[in-house]
Structure formats: C-alpha cells, structure tokens
C-alpha cells in the first residue's frame, strides 16, 4: 500500500455540461514515470491538476500516499509540500531572482533555514546547468532556462512526486531538449513523475506507463513499448497514426 503514490478511484468531473473526466481509475506506484497522452481536450491537464487539488472533482476519490486529496478536512497545503508541480507557462515569480524563486517555498513552507536552503538550491541549479544564473531575473532567461528554474523550484521542496503539465508546449523547438534532459535526470534518480506531454519519443524513452485518454476517459494504460507498437484500442491506433506520420 505504501508504495502507491497516487490512487485514483472512479474520478469524474464536469465543467458545466461538459464531462471532462469520466470514471478515471488507476494507481501510480512510487518511483514510476507515467505519461498522459491523448488529443487536446481529452482531459489530460485537468487530470494532472486534480492530483494536487488545483482542480476539484465531482465524484470519486484521489489518495496521495493514502490521504484523500479532496476531502475538506485534509490539509491540502501539507500534501502539496510533497507534490511538485511544473506547468506549461513556467510561472516563475518575476519580482524575485532565480535563487529566491527556488528558495521561497522551502523557507516559508518547509521552514528550513535560509542558509541551508540556499546551499541545496545552488546544488540543484548547478545540476540543471543554471549555476551562473542564480542572480538573474526570470525576464532575462530563455524559455528553456525558465522552465529548468521551474523544475529546480519544484525539486527544492524535495517532493515525493512531480507533476508536469505539458512542460515543453510553450517552448521553441530548439529549447525542448534541455528541459526534457532535466526530466530525464529526475527519472534516473527514481523520482515519481506524472507528465502530460506531446513528446512521443520522450514518453517512449523514459516512461514506465503510457496513459492514453480521450474525451475524459482513460482508454488504456500500457507500457510504452507495447503502446507504440500495438496499441489496444482503435482510438489509440488512430491517434498514433495521425501524430507519427505527419
């Protein structure tokens, strides 16, 4: 039981009359990398955002390390300390330099002494090739650098899992690799990750499971080798043929 990071049980969600998640059920074990793929509007981002409670759910339950995310009595801030989140649009804090972006939450949420946080933040930044950028402000960085800072910011909290919501969608093609390399690095150290992505080669390479969604329904959960060679569902076949042969 305690090697399950997320347990998603019969989760449904509607935006008005639009059903965005329909009876989603699966587990994400510790140290595994799950990629969520599917056509746009499939509910991928919504699903990943329900995992840390950024989105509410209408039915079902999501357990993070055994604790219900959406229950009123749950201290969501305490859970979020252990759930890193990296979004498509980086959302770095523009009024703070890179180092302060990374250290803000550990200092104020984890309440770790500033000196200690800065030391570990510098190590993380260095590991992501940002050692010389700690005094820079977000507006002075390229998109790829900004996204790597966002990853460093998530890592500095020492989370048990990191959620990525289309981490490379807002990037110029030549900047995508540096961000994917950062995520690869995390995979190597056994970080549990849930990645919404359109980068199929990347998904094939680093993921343990591919979660294929369409119209709010999880159609299949398959290891990448199998998924890309012989997908189970016709919808996945169709999707793959469209994106791999264009």
């Amino acid at each position: 039981m305690n090697n399950i990071t997320f347990s998603i049980k019969n989760v449904s969600k509607r935006f008005g009359t639009l059903q965005v998640l329909k009876d989603v059920t699966f587990d994400i074990p510790k140290s595994k990398v799950f990629a969520i793929i599917g056509p746009s509007g499939a509910g991928k981002s919504t699903l990943v955002r329900t995992l840390n409670g950024l989105e509410g759910i209408d039915e079902g339950e999501i357990l993070f390390e055994g604790i219900s995310v959406h229950q009123k009595k749950t201290d969501i801030n305490k859970l979020r300390m252990n759930i890193g989140f990296v979004s498509q649009s980086f959302n770095l804090y523009p009024h703070l330099n890179v180092l302060s972006n990374v250290t803000l939450a550990p200092i104020h949420v984890r309440r770790i002494p500033e000196k200690e946080v800065e030391e570990s933040a510098r190590k993380i930044l260095a590991s992501l090739g940002l050692a010389d950028k700690e005094q820079a402000y977000p507006s002075q960085l390229s998109g790829g650098q900004q996204q790597r800072v966002a990853i460093a910011r998530a890592m500095a909290m020492e989370p048990h899992v990191i959620l990525f919501d289309e981490p490379t969608s807002a990037l110029d093609p030549e900047l995508i690799k540096e961000v994917l390399d950062a995520i690869r690095q995390l995979a190597r150290i056994g970080m549990t990750m849930v990645v919404v992505t359109h980068e199929m080669n990347f998904a094939r390479e680093i993921c343990d499971q591919i979660v294929f969604m369409d119209h709010g329904v999880v159609l299949e959960i398959t290891p990448p080798k199998e998924f890309f060679s012989k997908p189970k569902t016709p919808r996945a076949k169709e999707f793959l043929s469209k994106i791999l042969h264009h």
Partner: protein
C-alpha cells in the same frame, strides 16, 4: 473699469500659505488613512468568500456613488454631532472614506493584473492563500498600484477644496473669506487656482521622477 491690484496677494501671502499648508495636510492625512481602508476593502473585494466580497463591493459602490460634498456635510452635520468630530476631523474622515473607495478599486485592479498562474504556482508549492498573497501576488501588485495611487493623491488635493463648506479654513475658504472683505475676486481666485496647480503639478512631476527611477531598477 476694474483695475487689478495684486497687493492683496502680497499683503495676505502668509495666510495663503497657511491655507495651502492645511490643504496639503488634510489631503495627506486623508491619503494615509485611505490606503489601509482601500487595501482592506480591495483585498476583501478579491476574496473567494462571496459575503466578504459582496460587502466590499457595497462599500465601493456606495461611496463612489455619493457626491463628496454630500458625504462631507453628512459626516459633519450627522455623524459629527454624535461623535463630536469637529470640522477638521470630519473633513479628513470624509475624504478618507471617499478616497478609500477609489483606492480599493486601484488595489483590486492591481491584484487582478497579476496573472492567475502566479497564485497557482505559489499554492501548488504548499503556500496558504495568505502566504501566496503576501509573498508572491502583493509584491508584484504594489508596483502596479503606485502610479494610480499617486494620481489619486492629486485628485485628493483638488477634492479637498470641498471641505471649505464645513468651515475648514483651507486654501479655498481663505480665498473666499478674503474676497468677502476685499472684493478682489479676480486676483484672489486666480492666485488660488495657480497655487492649486503648483501643488498638483509639482506632485505629478515628483511622481514621474519616482516612476522613472523604479522602472530603471
């Protein structure tokens, strides 16, 4: 034919200065009071609690909708009677309450100008709503709020001329009184207009200087 005689200005110069000083003092005190009022109301206005934001909206709509002249008289003649406010504090209270409604809107606009992703990123890292506001949203909003807040101060200086109706001896009332005794209306009202302009213009130049400096930073 009317021949102008500017000696009335020279002779009464210290009195004009006293009036100008009082005008500035009342405006400044009203501004200082209207900032916490406006900050509190503005924060309530963006609150997710609907009751809180409803009452904040009521405050803004009501005090924006009542003429300042009426508000000043109401505070002086109605509220002031019970609270023994006196004309000086009635004037400051009235201006502060009135200006607070506008400052609240400035604060609301400043907070709402910060992209939603900022609050989201902060909350996602485990911060409470209050921490996210204090550490992430407000420091960015303050920069957006300063320029409109400064122009609110200029408006306040001009609006403060209305306090003369509740017998606060500000620059406007000093002028009116002098006109009543010397009949030199052209000289006196022209001079007062120029004095108001000098006050607001130098303030606006000062603000422009200040803004240029913060942009450079």
């Amino acid at each position: 034919m009317y021949t102008t005689d500017w000696s009335v200005i020279v002779d009464n110069f210290p009195m004009f200065m006293k009036g100008a000083y009082l005008t500035l003092k009342i405006s400044f005190l009203a501004l200082v009071l209207s900032i916490p009022i406006g900050a509190a109301v503005g924060l309530c206005r963006v609150s997710r609690n609907r009751i809180v934001s409803f009452f904040a909206a009521c405050y803004v709509e009501f005090f924006r909708g009542v003429p300042l002249l009426v508000l000043l008289m109401w505070i002086f003649f109605v509220l002031g009677r019970f609270l023994r406010l006196g004309s000086y504090w009635s004037a400051i209270t009235g201006l502060a309450i009135f200006s607070g409604a506008f400052v609240a809107e400035i604060v609301r606009a400043g907070i709402q100008a910060i992209p939603k992703g900022q609050m989201e990123a902060a909350r996602a890292s485990g911060m409470t709503y209050g921490q996210a506001m204090r550490l992430v949203v407000l420091p960015q909003a303050v920069r957006k709020v300063l320029p409109p807040l400064a122009s609110q101060f200029i408006i306040l200086i001009k609006d403060s001329s209305l306090v003369s109706v509740i017998s606060v001896v500000d620059l406007t009332l000093i002028g009116k009184n002098l006109v009543a005794t010397t009949f030199r209306s052209i000289e006196i009202f022209s001079f007062i207009a120029v004095l108001y302009f000098c006050m607001t213009f130098s303030l606006s130049k000062f603000i422009a200087f200040f803004e240029r400096r913060t942009i450079r930073e």
